[in-house]
């Protein structure tokens, strides 16, 4: 026993050590990762971010250099007073501020390089560059910022900013201080535009001193430059749309039906994208972000959901025809409305009885109430009818996300039997409960881009391409989902009578005052009731002015939805603007300058101030319109663009 104690212990300890080694090196070894190794410093080489061009090849977004003064706090040496004041003078801060900044940097980390002063101007940089070597611990780092070649399309083009911690945690590609797309195409095409940064691995010692490339640089990579993209936006049309929206709030979405390309995507009010570049970025962004009244960061073309109103009636016609419950010549009476039970859906004065054509161009509520009831009541139960109707409506891209390449969006809403079962209980509701769907009110909600897409689908007689913003990426094809036709559930032949009705809206109906000579426009006006809350009370505001159209009637080149907040009836603002956009796109010049003048001299600011005034106000009145000095049309918008084909 005595002989074996030491021997036993030696072997025992040997086995324990082998076990521990196994645990450390084999069991808990997760494959050696160069990124995790704090003995390796990574130096990044940032590639050029891709440019953005419009559909006609006009450069919209480029890059500009920006210079930051960086500091490594522990390498900073105490400066003599005159040297310190020289430095402070050069970078434009006071010595007290200097001390404060340095202390803050030191507290963050004494050894990590940090931004001391960001976004120097080119002139400052030129002066500083020669003197930097006098200031230990400071150096200048070049960065690339966006340079917008235009003042329009802030919501389309978006902006870039520094990544936040959440993104860093989610995607290890990004490091603190990296730039990433924050809005618009900068987000949607982030990976394409940014390229791939290059990295050099440098072996360092525990004092953080470089001691040479790691393994002679075999793991180093070269930066891959970002790719340029061409977007589907027509800069001229976009600018014109933004001009028309001056002093108004709302959105315009214009789509090319034959391709699904978005020609213009206006959201008003907007801002100059250049204010989100450089030193003022964070201040300006906060200002935009906090503006909860005008809400400039809210893309009204993509995010605003409203009851679509009358434009939705065209869909009910199509569904009625497809379901075979109504024919083009079927007529219904309208006596200033439609009675059901002890309730009544109002309508305005027009001829009666009403057939489909008249129903569409006079926008007769009673006609569509009848059609809608026939659709639903074709089936044994309202639930089955609802679901059949739901299937048709959603085939137009309503009621769900469009799944396109825009950074924001809303699904809208199309009710189905589930909606009403939830509200009333199974089998405890009837068709009449849902009657407001007949005229696009009630439970139906849609965004302007969905309406524009619906117009495109009607113009195409039964199919659409998912509206998208990307036209081409250098040497890459655009995603297949944007080049595949999506068919609606309505047969082609049913579209003609409905399109005829939409044509007559311009010809003799609600939009006859805004027709454009020489262009066959098919459209539909709409108004949407809307409410706000003042001191917790629900208050109705002036209706939104809505217009949906496509032109020309055959082989349409443009389909659009215009939506003006509190603009009252459809053709009052939205209709005029739709006509102008169509004429601008198809002809390049405006012949209806009277419409243009009217739009540019009328402001809705008074209307928007009403709910904020703390005083009682009337809505839907003619008199509140505010006349303003005409917004001048820039010279380059008056004539067709030379560059376009």
């Amino acid at each position: 026993m005595r002989k074996f104690l030491l021997l036993f212990l030696v072997v025992f300890v040997g086995v324990v050590f082998l076990g521990r080694l196994f645990y450390l090196q084999v069991y808990s070894f997760d494959s050696y990762n160069i990124i995790e190794d704090n003995a390796i410093r990574r130096v990044y080489d940032y590639p050029k971010r891709g440019y953005v061009y419009d559909r006609n090849g006009k450069l919209l977004v480029a890059n500009q250099p920006s210079y930051d003064i960086m500091v490594i706090p522990r390498e900073v040496t105490d400066m003599e007073d005159d040297l310190l004041s020289e430095f402070c003078g050069l970078i434009g801060i006071s010595p007290e501020e200097y001390e404060k900044k340095l202390e803050k940097a030191y507290r963050y980390s004494p050894r990590l390089p940090q931004v001391f002063i960001s976004h120097l101007s080119k002139d400052d940089y030129a002066i500083l560059q020669e003197k930097m070597r006098k200031f230990d611990g400071y150096y200048i780092q070049k960065r690339s910022l966006r340079s917008y070649q235009t003042a329009i399309g802030a919501n389309v083009l978006g902006d870039i900013g520094e990544v936040n911690q959440r993104i860093i945690n989610r995607d290890p590609y990004y490091r603190l201080g990296d730039l990433i797309g924050k809005q618009g195409v900068e987000i949607s095409y982030e990976n394409t535009l940014r390229g791939q940064k290059g990295v050099k691995y440098i072996q360092k010692d525990r004092f953080n001193k470089d001691i040479g490339p790691y393994k002679e640089g075999i793991y180093d990579t070269l930066p891959v430059p970002g790719k340029d993209i061409t977007i589907t936006i027509d800069a001229t049309l976009q600018e014109y749309g933004e001009l028309l929206m001056t002093n108004k709030r709302g959105g315009i979405i214009a789509i090319e039906p034959s391709s699904g390309e978005i020609l213009a995507m206006v959201s008003a009010p907007s801002y100059d994208p250049n204010i989100l570049v450089g030193r003022e970025r964070s201040k300006n962004f906060t200002k935009l972000y906090r503006d909860s009244i005008a809400n400039p960061l809210f893309d009204r073309g993509l995010q605003a959901m409203y009851p679509p109103g009358s434009p939705f009636k065209t869909l009910n016609s199509l569904i009625g025809l497809q379901e075979g419950v109504v024919s083009v010549s079927d007529r219904f009476t309208c006596s200033m409305g439609y009675r059901y039970g002890n309730r009544r859906m109002g309508c305005h004065a027009h001829h009666s009885p009403v057939n489909m054509n008249l129903g569409i161009y006079e926008s007769c509520n009673a006609y569509f109430a009848n059609v809608y009831r026939r659709i639903i009541d074709k089936y044994d139960t309202p639930a089955k009818g609802m679901d059949a109707w739901h299937k048709h409506v959603t085939s137009f891209g309503l009621g769900n996300y469009l799944n396109n390449d825009l950074s924001v969006g809303q699904p809208g809403k199309v009710p189905s039997s589930i909606t009403y079962n939830r509200a009333y209980g199974e089998n405890r509701w009837y068709t009449t409960f849902t009657l407001s769907n007949a005229i696009g009110q009630g439970e139906v909600l849609a965004t302007p881009i969905q309406l524009a897409n619906m117009a495109a689908a009607i113009g195409n007689r039964g199919f659409y391409y998912t509206p998208h913003i990307i036209k081409s990426i250098e040497d890459e094809t655009i995603p297949e989902q944007f080049t595949t036709k999506k068919y609606t559930t309505i047969d082609k032949q049913h579209f003609e009578p409905v399109i005829r009705g939409m044509y007559d809206v311009y010809n003799k109906g609600t939009a006859k005052w805004v027709q454009v000579p020489g262009i066959e426009i098919c459209g539909k006006t709409g108004t949407a009731e809307n409410f706000t809350r003042i001191d917790g009370k629900k208050v109705q505001l002036t209706d939104h002015s809505i217009f949906m159209a496509f032109a020309p009637k055959n082989n349409p080149k443009i389909a659009l939805a215009v939506f003006v907040e509190n603009g009252y009836w459809g053709s009052r603002f939205a209709g005029k603007m739709a006509s102008l956009m169509i004429e601008k796109h198809l002809k390049g010049t405006i012949s209806r300058t009277d419409l243009e003048d009217w739009v540019l001299t009328h402001s809705l600011e008074n209307e928007y101030n009403k709910p904020l005034s703390n005083e009682p106000f009337k809505i839907n009145g003619e008199t509140e319109l505010q006349l303003v000095d005409k917004v001048e049309v820039p010279e380059h918008l008056k004539y067709p663009e030379k560059t376009s084909e």
Binding site: V10, F29, I211
Partner: protein
């Protein structure tokens, strides 16, 4: 194997670099081997007392001429070189112990001779402790194995095991729990023995002594140990629960351990290759060429390389034990046992510490760590035994 180094090797014997110095030390070590082996085996036995005395004097001399490095006054400065007498005191003490125990007059079962042997062992240990080199002092614990082998009573082993057990349990679970565990254990022993009359009085006495031990361990830990020593133990036993304190420890004492464990772990199965260790090349592990050298082995040679090192140490120590048992003279046997035990303690504490199994104690890994004195001390220690062993045929 020399310590890892940075950059290109220009001259293997470049004296401005640790690896250059170590190369020179190794060459000198071979000369020492030659000298050690060329001396008569009887020389060591005959001159053991004188070697021991010289060694003691060299330790005492440190109080007058010693050079302070890192808080310990353990070095003589000779020219540009330093010499650490405590490294040589090990084999001197081993010789003295062997000489005393093998004396025909000595009977280790008597208290008198036990005390005298303890004095021989503790004298250098105490001097080294005074120089603030707690790690090297611990090595003298190795002689316990020698004494046990040579016949001290079993009760010492039992007492030592009990003491260690009580200390660990007290620190980890507190005095009350310890006493409770002791009571339960005592009851179980009594039940097991099933005597008509359970030994109540001895039981109570043992219980009282043990409880007193628990209290004094707690007192020793809280009042005698310095804060950094407390931290090491608290770290080892995972006593600290306060996250802020742990965070602070991570930056101080845990830093070494963290980095060394990470370095070893990052080696994986096959290692990163000779001189390819990123953590060691970057000198992230402190003292990586001396006390933490095993982390370099782990990182660069992986599980394969470091297990081979562990196995080699086990084989070396085991071989020395087996050879010691086969000695005909008691002097050679005791000396051989001392060699094995000293190597074992170094191996246990150093490798255990680097892998986070044992509280941080700074002692070198034999034949690996950088340093001339340690290398030469171990060389002489081992090769005296080689000489004694080669001479066993002539012994009678």
């Amino acid at each position: 194997m020399s310590a890892s180094h940075t950059g290109e090797i220009t001259n293997f014997f470049d004296m401005s670099q640790p690896y250059g110095k170590q190369a020179v030390f190794i060459v000198l070590a071979f000369i020492l081997i030659a000298i050690t082996l060329s001396l008569e085996a009887k020389f060591y036995e005959r001159f053991a007392s004188i070697i021991y005395l010289i060694s003691l004097l060299s330790l005492v001399g440190l109080f007058l001429f010693g050079k302070n490095v890192n808080g310990a006054t353990s070095w003589y400065g000779i020219g540009g070189m330093t010499l650490q007498p405590s490294e040589f005191a090990k084999f001197a003490t081993a010789l003295a112990v062997a000489k005393y125990i093998s004396d025909l007059e000595t009977d280790l079962t008597t208290i008198k001779d036990q005390v005298r042997t303890m004095v021989i062992i503790l004298l250098p240990a105490f001097l080294i402790l005074l120089q603030n080199d707690a790690g090297s002092t611990l090595v003298y614990g190795a002689f316990f194995f020698v004494l046990y082998r040579e016949g001290i009573q079993q009760i010492y082993l039992i007492a030592l095991a009990t003491l260690v057990g009580i200390a660990v349990i007290t620190l980890k679970f507190g005095i009350l729990t310890t006493v409770l565990i002791l009571v339960v254990l005592g009851l179980m022993v009594n039940l097991y023995l099933r005597k008509r009359k359970p030994p109540i009085i001895p039981s109570i006495v043992i219980l009282l002594i043990s409880s007193l031990l628990a209290v004094s361990v707690s007192f020793f830990y809280k009042s005698i140990l310095k804060p950094h020593q407390q931290d090491r133990i608290s770290l080892w036993l995972r006593l600290e629960k306060d996250p802020d304190k742990i965070q602070q420890m991570k930056q101080t004492i845990l830093y070494n351990l963290n980095e060394s464990e990470k370095a070893i772990s990052s080696g994986g199965f096959k290692g990163k290759g000779y001189l390819e260790g990123t953590r060691t090349t970057g000198k992230f592990v402190p003292e990586q060429h001396t006390d933490y050298i095993f982390s370099t082995v782990g990182e660069e040679w992986g599980f394969l390389g470091s297990s081979i090192v562990v196995i080699l140490f086990v084989l070396l120590i085991g071989r020395v034990v087996v050879l010691a048992e086969s000695q005909k003279s008691q002097f050679s046997r005791v000396y051989g046992y001392s060699v094995a035990a000293i190597f074992f303690i170094h191996f246990l504490i150093n490798v255990g510490m680097v892998m986070g199994l044992i509280p941080t104690v700074g002692i070198p890994l034999p034949f690996f760590s950088y340093g001339g004195s340690a290398l030469w001390g171990f060389t002489i220690l081992l090769f005296i035994f080689v000489k004694l062993d080669s001479n066993k045929i002539n012994e009678w």
